[in-house]
Point group: none
Amino acid sequence: MTEPADKRDQRRTQILAAAKNVFAERGFHQASINDIIKRADIARGTFYLYFAGKDAVFESILDNAIDDLRGRIKPVQVGDGAQPPGVQLHENVTRVLVYVLGDRDLIQLVLNHGLGPDSPLSQRVDAFFAHVSDLIEASLRYGMEMKLVRECDAELVSQAALGSLRGAVRHLIRQDKPLDIPEIAKQLIDFALRGVVVPDRW
Amino acid sequence: MTEPADKRDQRRTQILAAAKNVFAERGFHQASINDIIKRADIARGTFYLYFAGKDAVFESILDNAIDDLRGRIKPVQVGDGAQPPGVQLHENVTRVLVYVLGDRDLIQLVLNHGLGPDSPLSQRVDAFFAHVSDLIEASLRYGMEMKLVRECDAELVSQAALGSLRGAVRHLIRQDKPLDIPEIAKQLIDFALRGVVVPDRW
Amino acid sequence: MTEPADKRDQRRTQILAAAKNVFAERGFHQASINDIIKRADIARGTFYLYFAGKDAVFESILDNAIDDLRGRIKPVQVGDGAQPPGVQLHENVTRVLVYVLGDRDLIQLVLNHGLGPDSPLSQRVDAFFAHVSDLIEASLRYGMEMKLVRECDAELVSQAALGSLRGAVRHLIRQDKPLDIPEIAKQLIDFALRGVVVPDRW
Amino acid sequence: MTEPADKRDQRRTQILAAAKNVFAERGFHQASINDIIKRADIARGTFYLYFAGKDAVFESILDNAIDDLRGRIKPVQVGDGAQPPGVQLHENVTRVLVYVLGDRDLIQLVLNHGLGPDSPLSQRVDAFFAHVSDLIEASLRYGMEMKLVRECDAELVSQAALGSLRGAVRHLIRQDKPLDIPEIAKQLIDFALRGVVVPDRW
DNA sequence: AATGAATGAGGGTTCATTCAT
DNA sequence: CATGAATGAACCCTCATTCAT
């Protein structure tokens, strides 16, 4: 992703890129080592010099992605010097969308990896999403305390909110036209905060 | 699911049930015919008396599910004799949730089949979700015309709304406690229609 | 082949006919019981009421054919009341050709059964051909004694003569036009007795 | 057959030899990959590194054989500097017999492959024999024009002549004693050219 | 006598991984 | 470091045969 420190890292990155591509295209189980080494243009044995196996490459891709994503989600600050929460929220969503929509292979792989639910790899993805929904849930509870958020089942609603983001992304990666990400972020936040109904008519 | 018409149907159902179980647990590609026949407690050859292959069982499960789901989604009627739209919406969501949460294997399999994006089977699932999001999108556009729905990107928002449902379901099937489905439906509809923010504070 | 004595024979014949057809089309190993019972329009179990297995049907077909063929080959008589040897030879060949060219399935199956050389079934066919070549060889030796036949390696030449018949038949069953069998027999006998060269030019 | 160019060719040859052996013994359909790899003393996967599948090995064996055989059949030259036709014919037959009787497995496989008549592999063998019989037929027609060959049905007789060769070979490969191939060739040519009858007695 | 559902050994093939070069 | 030949467990599927009905 970033500048490779040395030759070894370069190779690693080359393999990761190929693997990400293949995993995105075929799903984890359907992707073969053959596919990966062909796309990376390396020999079979070389692959195993850099990764312990298929699981390990996948894990590495996943960890990179999850780290990157975590870095883009900044807990909303409340306090005097802080931006208004709505602005911070918009920035968070925009940052995530920019990252995610800039790497379709990656998001394809995260959303549609096709691992069974019991696999350790799958659990790592699940844990990430659980982390995000926990953040949302905490915000909702805080908002309810502040009387800014309606009373609701915070756990359920946080899952729905996260799901709406996933749904949108799932849709957007299939688009070919260029995307106005800030506008998309605004639409999604509006949806989550205000729903679809005209307030007066409620 | 219901009373099998005869012995042959019974066997078929038995295999379908075992297969659904296995597919849910391991995903399509990771599930082996071996797994299925062991769980169905039948011989290898017997499986092939009832289904042409792995794809065919999966397809059958999928088609049954999609048909069932389609039958539970009734387009919202507007007119004098009709129930209020909010009630109809609630009934739709409740019907779907009752079905879906009553069959965790099935929903696991629909949400996490792990088929590559190009597989015909995967496209069938995609087509179903596209159908649902189209229904939502059409409702949104109609609502906008009626000035009941805020101006918004109907396509994007319909995907978000569908995603929120998927997100909620994905979460709920992992719960062990009994679920108050009508209440859950209410929460999800409230989220989609009104968002999370207290209207006065907007 | 002949009038079935009773219902059981009728069924047997029906299965034999279907099997002969299938064996001719696909070869022994490639032919499946499924193919046979479908063509005979009987149930799977019924087949095994009439034959012990695949080998047994094949064996039965073969035995019938070999018996029929043996019956059509009459050792050349020498003596006062007998027809001239050339005439008897011509009659033999004609009788065989009439039979063989009238049942392409059968001949296909005898010439191209596709059994390995060690199979008992294959040995039965081999034994038949060995019987025929023995007849030819004996005739050659007798002819040499009588100074009617050139000195030659009787064993080898008898195999060649039999081979020429097989080669011709192999070719003829692929023809669609009606065949003038007596003329064909004459050509083949001429070939075997006189070769292709004009005698004067030798 | 000859010195393998490198290690890869060596392995390929080793597999081809084992496969030829197995095919000869059991016929194409009855021969299993298991048989082949056991005889070649390699692992299952190794086989597929060298050949795409069972058909491919068989095809390779066949193509090699047919090429070799074609190379051994040289059209008879007529002209001043050329050897007499009888000599050329004898050389052709001898060359073919030397090759063919030196590789019993191969000839077993070519004569008794046991493929259904519709298989592409079978058609390749048929095409080869058709090619040879065409050569014979052309020679016969030319000989008739030259008044060296009796008037006869050239198509039929060419098939008979080819058949006599096949018949002889089929017989000879079962012999264990050493063979005097030039003498055999002479016998077979005599048979085809002059038949078995003493000319004076005709 | 007739049926056809059930069986399971065995077929061809794939592929993650290892290791000698 | 890099290679790619070799491995063999595991896959999906077929089919001759049996047997309860």
